[in-house]
Amino acid sequence: MNLEEYIASGILDSYAIGAVSDQEVREVNCLSSIYPEIRKELDELMLSTENYALLHSIEPPAGLKDRIMRQLTFEDADETIVRPLPIDRDLSAEATRPYTYKTSWMVAAAAALAVLFFSYFLITQLQTNQKTMASLRESNDSMQLQLKQLRTSQGQTDQILAMLRQPGARTLELRGNEKAPQGDMLVFWNPSTQQVAVEVKSLPALPADKQYQLWSLVDGKPVDAGVFDAGTAVQKMNRSIGKADAFAVTIEKRGGSPTPSMATLLAMSPVA
């Protein structure tokens, strides 16, 4: 573009005294930022216009300044760096925010507390149920055990009853000698079926390696009739005894001895 021609057109002069349209203002602003020659001419013209305007300066009346200052808001006279605007903003933010903060906090806390209580309730309930189940299982186990024991003893009792009911069954009472003054037991024997059983009423307890042994005396000779313990239940002996003149009890080593140790003879009773 021809700068001299543009400057000579007078548009810059018109711009300087404010006689151009908005579109021309934009055009001049744009061109003056691109071309230093235009910028320089425009600056000189603007300065001339301003100087011309300054020539018309008139001191305004004294009261005008105060009138204007009453319309304005000023920063505090103190030269502090504190700026009220951000502080105001913070305050207004604090005034509204804590409420929403607080409520949301309280709702969250209440919900968490409710969940906590409910979980605690559930856990307690579960533990109670588990305890009840455990005790039920335990009592069930012990009852089954008792049932088993009862069945066993029932079976034994049935056997003994059956044995005793058979014709020819005899009951002998053996009393302890001076070595076992409290000793008292019964021997059930049926010569025809050759079955023998004992029921201890009271015999001294023995060390773990010892057992009582029952003997039947046939023609003065002791015959092993089986071992038994000091328990009170009726114990069926697993030996068959067809003949016996008397029955005797000794203390022998666990499992029994082939011949009785006479020193430990506790009781003896002849078959009547």
């Binding site: 007078g10 008139i58 305004p60 005008l64």
Partner: protein, 186 residues
């Protein structure tokens, strides 16, 4: 050197103004209110009205300091522009009530009234300068500058008013400004 130091002081002043510093406002008012009041009075030709407008102008400047862009021109240029536009808008809205033709004619009369006021009243030291400068300016050129700058006339309005072709108005504005430029250079 001198120019640079004034630039620095202006940027410091603007910083203070943006911080809404009271001392900076005092400085700004003391420095520029005669210029703004003079221009506004010249445009509206009524002291009371001019004072009201100067008040509006300073409030406007105070509120819109953030809009001022120092890269686009000096602070005074911006302030003068705000003052001139505000005052011209004010007389335009006043003029819109009576008929346009009448308003322009009254306008012309008022220019002379104000000129007479300036010649007789206001023994302001500034006006010694105005006489020196304006006295050297060719009267037809001065008339055109005043019509456009203080009357807010467009090229077309000025051409109508002065019964001149549009091209002559444009050429005469250029001649007037170039003459003004030379006057202030010397």
């Amino acid at each position: 050197m001198k120019r640079q130091s004034s630039l620095v002081s202006e940027s410091v002043l603007i910083e203070k103004l943006v911080q809404r510093d009271q001392k900076a406002f005092h400085w700004l008012y003391d420095q520029y209110s005669p210029a703004l009041y003079g221009v506004v009075l010249r445009i509206v030709r009524d002291e009371e009205h001019a004072q009201d407008l100067v008040q509006d102008i300073f409030v406007k400047i105070w509120k819109n300091l953030d809009a001022y862009d120092s890269s686009k021109g000096r602070l005074f240029t911006w302030m003068l522009n705000v003052a001139r536009n505000t005052a011209i808008d004010a007389i335009r809205s006043q003029k819109s009530q009576p008929s346009a033709a009448n308003a322009i004619r009254t306008d012309e009369d008022n220019v002379h009234v104000v000129d007479r006021q300036h010649n007789t009243q206001q023994p302001n030291p500034e006006h010694i300068g105005i006489q020196e400068v304006v006295g050297q300016l060719r009267p037809d050129r001065r008339q055109l500058i005043d019509l456009v700058y203080f009357g807010g006339y467009t090229h077309e309005e000025a051409a109508d008013e002065l019964n001149l072709p549009l091209g002559t108005v444009k050429t005469r504005i250029r001649a007037a400004l170039q003459e003004l430029k030379q006057l202030f250079k010397s």
